[in-house]
């Protein structure tokens, strides 16, 4: 068995996403947007009104995360994945509207597997309970929208060698 770590630059292309296989270890670099429970409700409203994703999110990746505030000259003191299954209710619509990849923790529904196959998108996981360590792989953050949501606001992050694993690949296989 060869254990190789794949460097994945975000945003990426469907062509590259289709080369990923469930279980593969990744290092993510580039842009990802934080969105969790309250943000999903707003995002779906805006998607419904405009017929397209807000804030140029089409083609981007979402990180299901609500970080702690900035600390010790880092964008966040701690950041880590929240449970992806809670976002399942919105995920199919968001993948269809152009979200390329999502990053969270835990297992997802059959509907999300199907959406990944249909849209050639992926679901990635990272380790919960390692948030001080993961914060070291976030080099910067920028508030995009919804500051009233506090830690649930929409941030654009720049990742550097952020550890993750493929949990649903573009064939819909789940880890």
């Amino acid at each position: 068995m060869t254990v190789s770590v794949i460097q994945l630059a975000l945003p990426t292309s469907k062509q590259i996403l289709t080369t990923l296989e469930v279980g593969q270890e990744l290092r993510l670099s580039g842009d990802i947007y934080t969105m969790r429970d309250a943000g999903h409700i707003r995002c779906l409203d805006l998607l419904e009104q405009a017929g397209q994703l807000p804030f140029n999110l089409a083609g981007q990746a979402l990180f299901y995360a609500g970080p702690t505030p900035a600390l010790a000259s880092q964008p966040f003191g701690a950041i880590g994945p929240t449970t992806a299954a809670r976002m399942d209710v919105a995920a199919v619509r968001l993948y269809r509207a152009g979200i390329q990849a999502t990053l969270g923790k835990g297992r997802r529904s059959a509907a999300v597997e199907q959406a990944c196959r249909e849209c050639l998108s992926v679901y990635l996981v990272t380790v919960g309970g390692a948030a001080a360590l993961l914060a070291r792989h976030v080099v910067s953050s920028e508030l995009v929208a919804w500051p009233d949501l506090g830690s649930e606001a929409l941030y654009r992050l720049k990742l550097q060698d952020f550890p993750a694993w493929v949990a649903i690949d573009t064939t819909g296989r789940q880890l």
Binding site: A70, G77, T83, K105, R107, V125, V127
Partner: protein, 298 residues
């Protein structure tokens, strides 16, 4: 994780100070027994990915403690439990300070600002899901323990993901041990990956519908490695542990032999018709500390 702590008086100012100390510590320091159990698990694990994840969890714990960073981005809801026994001097029940709840909430406001923790509480679960901005209110309880001497204060930070993965069932008494066994296994195997494994699992059996969840939460406080004083429960805990760890869910849900670090069962009296069972899943960042309080006031 019980420690002895001297306080000059059993009043709200002193208790709030203990709460502040506890929150400051547990938000960035892993429970020592959990960290030790992770290190033992790392020695035993044979799967490379599981070893890698355990290594990350240990490195995270060391980094958070050294740099005073939050152990997890979900810095939790605060649960404070003040248990009041009898005075050593007079034998009479110790009295609770009347403003304890408001003092604890003030302390939380200060700690969250000072340590830049995440405000994770909403004004109302259904009617107003606006962030309260300062992580208040705490869920504070006072419990009278006439069988105990002195006072004990417990502080826990509970993450939302692992709390969501907890559950409660009112089983049929005739089904007994077997039904409890099946419930725990089925539940843990379906929810473990969402709750940030390796898990610290508390099981409460008995009391009433509203109290059994608290029993499960208290079961989680038993230090890992301390045997259940009842041999039958100790046996059941071992059986459950072995079965959970043979599931292959593993650290981070990424596969491996370490899905649970501990299963602790706590039982209590109950109604003739009932068998209440609660399962509280604690994530790898299970954060709690208990202080046995001492002083002249005792």
């Amino acid at each position: 994780m019980e420690e002895t702590l001297h306080i000059p008086a059993l009043d709200s100012a002193n208790l709030a100070q203990v709460v502040a100390q506890a929150l400051t510590r547990i938000s960035s320091e892993m429970r020592p027994d959990v960290l030790a159990a992770l290190q033992v698990a790392l020695e035993k694990e044979s799967q490379p990915r599981a070893r890698q994840v355990l290594g990350m969890l240990i490195e995270n714990a060391e980094l958070a403690a050294a740099k005073r960073l939050p152990l997890c981005q979900d810095t939790g809801s605060v649960w404070v439990l003040l248990e009041l026994g009898r005075s050593v001097n007079s034998g009479r029940p110790l009295a609770a300070p009347s403003d304890l709840f408001s003092q604890v909430d003030s302390t939380i406001r200060w700690v969250w600002r000072e340590h830049r923790l995440r405000a994770s509480l909403l004004e109302d679960a259904l009617l107003d899901r606006t962030n309260s901005r300062d992580n208040t209110p705490a869920f504070t309880e006072i419990s009278l323990k006439p069988e105990m001497l002195g006072a004990r204060l417990t502080v826990m930070l509970k993450g939302g993901g692992s709390d969501n993965a907890s559950m409660l069932a009112m089983l049929t008494p005739g089904e007994g041990w077997l039904a409890i066994h099946q419930l725990v296994i089925n539940h843990v195997l379906s929810k473990a990956a969402n709750a940030c494994p390796p898990l610290v699992i508390g099981v409460g059996v008995g009391t009433t519908f509203d109290k059994v969840a608290g029993l499960a939460k208290q079961a989680m406080l038993r230090p890992i490695g301390a045997a259940n004083p009842d041999a039958r429960l100790a046996q059941m805990e071992q059986t459950l542990m072995a079965e959970i760890n043979s599931s292959g869910i593993g650290p981070g849900g990424l596969g491996g032999e370490t899905t649970a670090l501990a299963v602790s069962i706590k039982t209590a009296p109950c109604h003739i018709a009932s068998l209440p069972v609660a399962i509280c899943l604690g994530c790898v960042a299970t954060r709690a500390v208990s202080f046995q309080l001492t002083g002249e006031w005792m």
